[in-house]
């Protein structure tokens, strides 16, 4: 058994799953929004989204033409073998998925201004590594669209403003984003750490299903409060007005420097694409977010 080719095949499959089929929690939230939306125009948008999601699933076609910049999260068991081959396998998988799924080529050189055509390039696909106990490799594909990425925001607020400052910053980010990130959105909020850490945990918070509140009741309450506040803005589906501006808010936190209070908001469009699998040392694969037919 060649683990490198197993990883490659699994990664291609995860990219396909992610871009063609929404995770159950996101689909449920969209259906609920469609049922409860009060604005007629807002309802037309949610209906179009649901029709589109069904069609994408049935035809195994990317649900959005912007198949994003390719990001992977790898939780690598410390005892897993051949970890040095993972990066190469994921790069190969990205190239293959670009042709086979297909994905839109979205990797442009900063100075060459050239699109590489295969979704790879410097730091692309980007791999977030974590070493965990055990011998499995857990792989998550997280293709991230550009429209919602453009309104992500980092605020280095004053520690004296504390939680109030955080809430205001999150609401302001939603208000400033308006229609741009294809609402209804999911917000990943990362607080504390440092500038980079806040954004990293904000983005990783988007991996948690939106029907699973933070296990800490205080933070779960904050998530609820931010969710309700964002849905009071009136931006609505696609910014055409309505009740549903966000589908969920996930908060994560890290301790902070006494002088700093970083707040990061990672904005995700309704096409919240993520897919995970666990690869065992014997090459068997468990798909965690999507059922494989």
């Amino acid at each position: 058994m060649n683990i490198e080719s197993v990883i490659e095949d699994v990664a291609v499959e995860l990219l396909r799953q992610a871009v063609t089929k929404l995770p159950r929690d996101v689909k449920d939230a969209l259906k609920r929004a469609h049922r409860e939306e009060e604005s007629d125009v807002g309802k037309t948008q949610l209906e179009a989204i649901l029709n589109n999601v069904d069609l994408a699933e049935k035809t195994s076609t990317p649900m959005c033409q912007d198949t994003g910049v390719i990001i992977f999260y790898v939780n690598a068991g410390a005892q897993a073998k051949d970890l040095d081959k993972v990066e190469k396998a994921l790069t190969k998988a990205t190239k293959r998925a670009t042709k086979e799924v297909p994905l839109r080529p979205n990797s442009v050189g900063i100075f060459t201004r050239k699109n590489t055509g295969d979704n790879t390039g410097r730091y692309v696909p980007y791999i977030n590594w974590k070493i965990v106990p055990g011998d499995n490799i857990e792989l998550t594909a997280f293709p991230k669209g550009g429209g919602s990425e453009n309104v992500c925001a980092l605020g280095m607020i004053r520690p004296g403003e504390g939680l109030n400052g955080l809430k205001k910053f999150v609401v302001d980010t939603v208000l400033n984003a308006g229609a741009k990130p294809c609402p209804p959105n999911i917000l990943g909020v990362g607080v504390g750490g440092g500038a980079d850490i806040a954004m990293k945990i904000a983005k990783a918070a988007l991996l948690r299903p939106i029907d699973q509140p933070n296990p800490d009741p205080e933070i779960a309450k904050l998530e609820r409060e931010l969710y309700e506040a964002a849905n009071m803005t009136g931006i609505g589906p696609m910014g055409l007005g309505g009740r549903f501006t966000v589908l969920g808010v996930n908060v994560d936190h890290a301790n902070r420097h006494p002088a700093s209070y970083p707040v990061a908001v990672a904005v995700q469009c309704w096409a919240a694409r993520r897919a995970s699998a666990r690869i065992h040392p014997d090459g068997t694969v468990e798909y965690l977010t999507h059922k494989v037919v």
């Binding site: 007629d40 125009v41 037309t44 948008q45 179009a48 989204i49 029709n51 589109n52 069609l55 994408a56 035809t59 076609t61 990317p62 649900m63 959005c64 033409q65 912007d66 198949t67 297909p102 994905l103 839109r104 080529p105 979205n106 699109n115 669209g145 429209g147 453009n150 109030n164 400052g165 809430k167 205001k168 609401v171 208000l175 308006g178 229609a179 741009k180 294809c182 409060e225 506040a229 009071m232 803005t233 009136g234 931006i235 609505g236 696609m238 910014g239 055409l240 007005g241 469009c269 309704w270 096409a271």
Partner: protein, 199 residues
């Protein structure tokens, strides 16, 4: 929310009948154009060079599609709209120069474009962001691709479409702009939210 079906070439007169929040479906010829294609088209116009297609009465779609080639034939796989505000830099001039009647995208456009649409006769049709398969389903044929050197997303794709929509008329020729109205309402809600959060 009146529903209209429009066929290209669309006349200025027809487009002036539309009002914000109407729903339209377009049948006929449509081109895709993003930042680079807008820029090149306008520089062609200045240099009096002919475009690959006469755009009068057609629809322009802010979109970078995923397109597949098999047996020398292009098919659109996914084609949702991109953020239109980036094209605010060019759109009024574009409508004036080429007489397109429907501009399709997501997220709305600004004051300058709204003025341009009023003056030269065009509407903005909002297509659901990300609804790429729905869009692709309405695209029946890729007539050709021009300016492919700009890359797949930025090239000028000439498409034949059938009942392309639903498009919400978000900017009409009377100076109305749904996105502006929502923005005003949202701004009014800002203080209420601050109060509720006690921030």
């Amino acid at each position: 929310m009146a529903v209209y079906k429009l066929k290209t070439p669309i006349s200025e007169e027809d487009v002036r009948k539309l009002k914000v929040n109407d729903v339209i479906y377009v049948t006929g010829t449509m081109i895709t154009a993003r930042d680079s294609a807008h820029k090149r088209a306008l520089s062609f116009f200045k240099e009096r060079k002919e475009l690959p297609i006469n755009l009068e009465g057609l629809a322009v779609f802010h979109c970078g599609p995923i397109v597949k080639k098999a047996d020398d034939k292009w098919t659109v796989v996914a084609a949702g709209p991109t953020t239109s505000t980036r094209m605010d830099l060019f759109e009024d001039e574009f409508i004036k120069a080429f007489k397109v009647r429907v501009v399709i995208g997501k997220g709305g456009m600004g004051r300058r474009t709204t003025e341009g649409m009023k003056k030269y006769g065009a509407v903005y049709g909002a297509f659901t962001g990300g609804a790429a398969v729905l869009a692709a389903k309405a695209i029946k044929n890729v007539r050709s691709v021009e300016w492919f050197d700009l890359g797949m997303p930025e090239a000028l794709w000439i498409l034949e479409v059938e009942d392309f929509g639903p498009l919400i008329v978000a900017i009409d020729t009377h100076g109305n702009n749904v996105f502006e109205d929502v923005r005003k309402q949202v701004e009014e809600n800002r203080q209420k939210i601050y109060e509720r959060l006690a921030v």
